[in-house]
Symmetry: C2
Subunit: 334 residues, 2 copies
Amino acid sequence: MDIALIGFGSVGKGVVQVFSKKQNQLRQKYDLSFSFKGIFTSRGAFLDSNGLDLQSILNIKDLTAHSSWKNGLSFMESIDDLDVDLVIEVTPTNIEHGEPGKSHIISSIKKGCDVVTANKGPLVVAFDELAELCRRGGCILRYEGSVGGGLPVFNLVRETLQGNTIHSLRGILNGTSNFILTQMTYERTSFESALKTAQELGYAEADPAADVEGTDAASKTVILANGLFGMNKGIDDVYIQGITKVTPEAIELAGNENFLIKHIASIEDGQIEVAPRLIQKTSPLAVDGTLNVVSLQTDLAKEITIIGQGAGGEETASAILSDVVDIHLTRKAK
Amino acid sequence: MDIALIGFGSVGKGVVQVFSKKQNQLRQKYDLSFSFKGIFTSRGAFLDSNGLDLQSILNIKDLTAHSSWKNGLSFMESIDDLDVDLVIEVTPTNIEHGEPGKSHIISSIKKGCDVVTANKGPLVVAFDELAELCRRGGCILRYEGSVGGGLPVFNLVRETLQGNTIHSLRGILNGTSNFILTQMTYERTSFESALKTAQELGYAEADPAADVEGTDAASKTVILANGLFGMNKGIDDVYIQGITKVTPEAIELAGNENFLIKHIASIEDGQIEVAPRLIQKTSPLAVDGTLNVVSLQTDLAKEITIIGQGAGGEETASAILSDVVDIHLTRKAK
């Protein structure tokens, strides 16, 4: 399997690390041999038609000093000459226009490549278009890492709950806002103070809007609605309420009645929303810190809940690896 | 796919209901058509080489009045004449000698059939023997329903965490003992009183020993150790401590420090045990009532926790259905 990787931030680096580390295991267990022919960063690319030496790329401090480095070269300039089977797209997300990921994915599918992505933007703005392109081109698009980091949701439903009908979903899809609410609950601090702690610990960015105002969780909810429930939703279809107005007093009142206030994403009866909600302390949804959780109401297995780290380079790379192995096995079976 | 079902208790009836209900969906979504050629109960069998009418079997009150009924006929007497691809084994479990399930499964594999079971006994007493028979005969043995009812564990690891190494596991694998501890925690009652409530509600059997003394959870832990970690363990390798000596006073003391007492199964550093343990109230393992939970420590995805109903006819049938679909797709790919 010849692979191109687009994006070399924490997830992209995680992908290179994980694939490098698991090379032997993937060959032995799944008969999967791979080589990375191109790795595209924001400043240029590593290119080698014989396959890049991943370890040397991980070890080098000055990327431009690497023998395979092409300064300023972009994926879109290179795609015509790239001979790869699969493209991993993990550039920074933009949920308004989906670029540059959307163009990367569309070009890859049009070239006949399978695509694995953790990039929410293209899936939020163009889910149906991408799915239709794949159908026409016989390509496979997988996106387990786009929701909940290393926590499996799409693969969980497709591969372990076959035959089940999923009636509804509730979950916590943003680790930063969950961390802030957890701080406010146990340290009895204000939103502002908890946010500051989250920023100091590196859980929240300097501009925390997407996390605390709910648009990040809403993007993931859109992908779940389209990917799991076969809907055709956009971000404007989500009722979104952030956590910025949650007060320690409200949390304490809830606590007195054995409830927590959590930032809950839900898909139910065709309605999708992300908003602060009361959750019983004993509920499987009552997970703390930066954890993510997804709870599915199904007809046969009843309620199935999965909890895990919703972010992190290696965790997200784990989801990407799972998708790549699955595509490899699907292709091999054909 | 021609199927024989052995066992017609709550799980067996669940299997018939679920397969009957999902017939069209399985055909459309997975190109899976099936017919049940034999259903074996403790008193006799339904046999029809053209395929049994499942709905008529579910509806009939007096089994012996059904046109396909063969009084007293057993699976072992019938196997030579049965023309089936797959055997579903869900007879009552015996963890000392594994019978009658063990003989059913061995005979089925020797005949070249794939096997799906939720029966712990044969897996506890003869895991390696069954695995070896399958390897030699090219058969597939699946047992998702043997641990945690409808909650996927084996399929979760195999199908959604590819490439991950599982370091250790902790979980709650018996809904009855979890219900009793939950009652003792929130109602501040004694073990005896909580057990009585569990019996009145139908969660505990008249003889609750296997549940409250931990042998049921220990059996499941053995299957997890062998199936997930590649060990070769028997029930005697498990350190087992029941919940009969847990007192409301101990639970209250733990609660004052924000801990719960839970009946925890664990596999760590080659050691397997089932015993009452302190669990932080905020831990993903802190699930209440009859819920089961399994938490896996993995190298890439980190801690992944799955929660669900650990028992119930339809829930267990859901796991069996998932196994059957997976076998169908594996066979189709070859």
